[in-house]
Symmetry: C2
Subunit: 212 residues, 2 copies
């Protein structure tokens, strides 16, 4: 029973084997990176909040990096949900609008969860299009798959004979780049003049127009 006065969290304090340390660790780590950023995330703090010793983490994850990798996967899924929700809100829209809705959700996700965005696209060795992640995605489609779908439909609708994959990657790159520049303040002035949403819409219009 040891020290039971004023524990950090009001959790069932089954001394040993408290069940789902792996999952709790992820949940707590998520909160930490969301609130304080990736660089402020420490294994020890997470462990303490979960109510477990630092070394316990190593029974469930190889090391700190593996926790971050798992968080990155979680973030990918979160983005996926974010985009699905955005699509549902704009049900029945044209596939051109669909592309924009997906892009906007991408940007807004990055703005809402910059830490997630960071680890998702940092070279940690997490493939954002990993098929093993697809299990969580409806029809095996993650963020990229959804974009590819919309782009494919748009190309067919406009009778454009271009490789859908190449086109989708170009849009992805543009959206990703714009998101990064907005996020790190590289184009502060432009955002002030118009706003990030307009910038995003602008670049997508340019690219779609360029596909013709």
């Amino acid at each position: 029973m040891k020290k039971n006065g004023a524990q950090k969290n009001t959790q069932k304090r089954q001394a040993y084997h408290h069940g789902d340390v792996a999952q709790q660790l992820l949940a707590v780590s998520e909160q930490i990176i969301i609130k304080k950023g990736v660089e402020a995330f420490s294994l020890r703090e997470a462990a303490e909040i979960v109510g477990v010793s630092p070394s316990a983490c190593y029974r469930h994850y190889k090391n700190k990096l593996e926790i971050l990798k798992n968080l990155a996967s979680r973030g990918l899924f979160k983005l996926y949900e974010y985009q699905i929700k955005a699509l549902k809100k704009n049900d029945g829209c044209s596939c051109e609008e669909e592309i924009f809705v997906l892009a906007l959700a991408y940007l807004q996700f990055a703005q809402k969860y910059p830490a997630y965005f960071k680890i998702m696209f940092a070279p940690l060795g997490v493939d954002s299009r990993d098929p093993s992640l697809a299990l969580g995605f409806v029809a095996g489609k993650g963020p990229y798959g959804m974009l590819l779908d919309s782009v494919d439909r748009w190309l067919k609708k406009n009778s454009i004979k271009k490789n859908p994959g190449t086109c989708a990657v170009e849009i992805w790159a543009a959206v990703h780049g714009m998101t990064c520049l907005v996020l790190n303040g590289s184009i502060r002035d432009e955002v002030r003049k118009t706003n990030s949403e307009n910038l995003l819409q602008g670049i997508i219009k340019t690219i779609l127009s360029g596909f013709h």
Copy 2:
């Protein structure tokens, strides 16, 4: 004279006041991040290589972050030189080619110095278009200024009445995004099929075409 047997670096060991600790610190830090990555960079290691105590760093920089910020500025200048050299190699080319040359240099720089690229575009509070950096740049133009110039000329040449700044930012975003995705392995397959250079050329063609 303390321990003088087998020092880490064969440097003049003026005990005190050895002159340019600030600059040496930057130079050493640069080597560390290039060789081992940003996350492996430690103040103490840098200090030891320079031949100075860890606390000495704080006479020249507020903290570790400020060293990274200085490195980011240095990286910006390095990119600028990289692009200047690329332009000189392709002297007298069309402004469309110029845009591509600049973009390619951007990508190649990122591939050669991923650590630099990372800190340059991480939200450390370093403005990649900071006028105070412009002093080092010929005619006050950094990487963005050069791109803006080429884009402006291209627009005029093609009699396109679009805001050059907006167009330049769109190209920047596309190039930056493609560079990020290539760098972190998000589009490994596509790179394998063609190569990063072709992907870059493709997206620029699309965007320029979209400006028409």
